[in-house]
Amino acid sequence: MTNDVLVHVDGCPVRVPAGTPVAVACAQAGAPDGRLSASGQRRHAFCGMGVCGECRVTVDGRPHRLGCQVACLEGMRITRDAG
């Protein structure tokens, strides 16, 4: 497809259609994970609508971006909380 974009999830390249939510790109890269909770549990996309914040990841150096609400753009670098 001509409107695919290449993004990097924890350094791994993954190709997705432009406009794909970041959380979906993570899942397609085999890492359907979001933030680490207050007690250190790994959390995952839950509400899918920008409310719960469980899908938060770092996008191009900006922390706490909502994976379900941010669309993938060419070259985006997505990193999850280290756990």
Binding site: G19, P21, V51, C52, G53, V59, H64, C68
Partner: protein
């Protein structure tokens, strides 16, 4: 995906923007409001937190963005409406400036009139195991699947209450999921009674029949509630979902092997922005909504509210109330204040008919009355801050619980646990403070707030910033 590309083409105006009417939310209500106001001849900006327009209802339904949203966006572009996806209102200032977060950066917007069309979120209630990987809001998984979340071949159980469970199940099945069952808390007799009463709403009856047909072969059972979502590793509370145990009122249980669990207990109007703007709110049963008059004007003269803001009533009502609000907001700015806004009786009839249907849905599918009895000591009632039920149940008021445990003080700012604890009987509506919402309405880096011009700062201190 045509819609996102089309949407992105509209980006490019300056970070500090002034307009006549700001419409907050680009679902059915916001799209209709923006079009009605712009058609009347005023400048309009349309904001939405999501990267694509359509709101949760049109985003979640398969195949609709191209047929419903794209033509509307084209008309808005023709009318000169500034469309701002990926934009959240963070903090309304006393002078009328709205502090925004746009694609992760601060921006401001001044508007003479505001139309709130921020929709509703799912009522997501705690149960043991609800933080595991594989547990989702039903509408949330619907929206994620639409965006490409991998559900193909996965065994999905859809459970909770409300007619949206069927819509979620149908979308997931279309996306390739193996929907093993739709489990309603409402008893089978209640579901049958609801189906009978649908006859009074032919369009809804047709929707329901179409949905049921698309779920042919999927068992739909009444009278079952979720007991627990078990993980692959019984000893690890964070291990991914493997099984779900359901129970009947008589205590009978059964356990299903699943990959994903999609849950929902109806919708909750997202009234935080209205509340922070000082608009009056009211309760109707379990639903807190924005008080509006017949023109959709709130108790604040320069703020209108449309769609689910005035009470959950669905997309048809949202299109009607959005159009009414957009016309009325524009009328304020172009006409003598003594004249009434133009009346479209068709929109009013559509809006009021949908409200009657919504009342039937609310009466048929109430949220659980025994919620607290379903929780164990270690059930996390606040998943933002990992606060267990045992830690909060001793407190009399939400405020005391917050002060001692941080319950409700995490990222979602109490949007999830606040509703759950209210339903569990921990706080009656009367005991809630008049204005519990404090800016920023959504968590943002402190640098966003520092970006505000000095004269626009208010006295309220930020509740929390990362």
């Amino acid at each position: 995906m045509n819609a996102p590309r089309e949407f992105m083409n509209l980006i490019g105006e300056p970070a500090d923007l002034a307009t006549d009417v700001a419409v907050i939310g680009a679902g059915p209500a916001g799209l209709a409001a923006a079009e009605a106001a712009a058609t009347a001849g005023v400048r309009v900006a349309l904001l939405d937190a999501a990267p694509v327009a359509g709101g949760n209802v049109w985003r979640a339904r398969a195949a609709t963005p191209d047929t419903e949203v794209a033509p509307r966006l084209r008309r808005l572009a023709g009318l000169g409406v500034v469309v701002m996806p990926g934009t959240r209102v963070v903090w309304p200032q006393p002078d009328g400036t709205l502090l925004l977060e746009r694609d992760g950066s601060p921006a401001t917007l001044r508007a003479k009139r505001i139309v709130l069309a921020t929709g509703a979120r799912e009522r997501l209630l705690p149960f043991p195991g609800w933080t595991r990987r594989g547990v989702f809001g039903a509408g949330g998984l619907q929206a994620l699947a639409k965006g490409g979340w991998p559900v193909q071949g996965r065994r999905v159980l859809v459970a909770g209450t409300g007619p949206l469970l069927l819509a979620a199940a149908a979308t997931l099945r279309r996306a390739g999921a193996h929907v093993i069952e739709v489990a309603f808390e409402a008893e089978t007799a209640t579901l049958a009674g609801f189906a009978m009463r649908l006859a009074a709403f032919p369009a809804r009856a047709l929707d329901a029949l179409t949905l049921r047909a698309s779920l042919a072969g999927v068992p739909v059972r009444g009278g079952w509630r979720i007991v627990e979502a078990q993980g692959v590793d019984a000893a690890d509370p964070a291990s991914p979902l493997a099984q779900v145990t359901l129970a009947r009122a008589n205590g009978r249980t059964r356990t299903l092997e699943v990959d994903d669990l999609a849950v929902s207990w109806g919708l909750v109007p997202q009234v935080e922005l209205a509340e922070s703007l000082g608009c009056a709110l009211a309760w109707r049963g379990h639903e807190r909504h924005v008080v509006v008059d017949t023109d959709q004007r709130t108790t604040r003269a320069d703020v209108f509210a449309a769609g689910e803001q005035g009470g959950v009533a669905g997309a048809a009502a949202a299109l009607a109330s959005g159009a009414i609000a957009g016309r009325a907001a524009a009328h304020d700015l172009i006409a003598d204040a003594q004249t009434d806004p133009p009346v479209d009786l068709h929109d009013r009839q559509r809006r009021d008919r949908a409200a009657r249907f919504a009342a039937l849905v609310a009466a048929t599918f109430p949220p659980p009355a025994d919620l607290a009895a379903r929780w164990r000591d270690d059930t996390l009632v606040c998943r933002c801050e990992d606060v267990a039920w045992s830690a909060v149940r001793a407190f009399d008021t939400p405020r005391e619980a917050k002060m001692a445990t941080r319950c409700g003080m995490g990222h979602c700012q109490g949007r999830t646990c606040g509703e759950a604890l209210r339903l569990a009987g921990c706080a009656s509506p009367a005991s809630l403070p008049a204005r519990p919402v404090r800016a920023p309405i959504v968590p943002v880096p402190l640098s966003h707030v520092l970006a505000l011009p000095a004269e626009a700062e208010s006295d309220d201190a930020p509740a929390r910033a990362h």
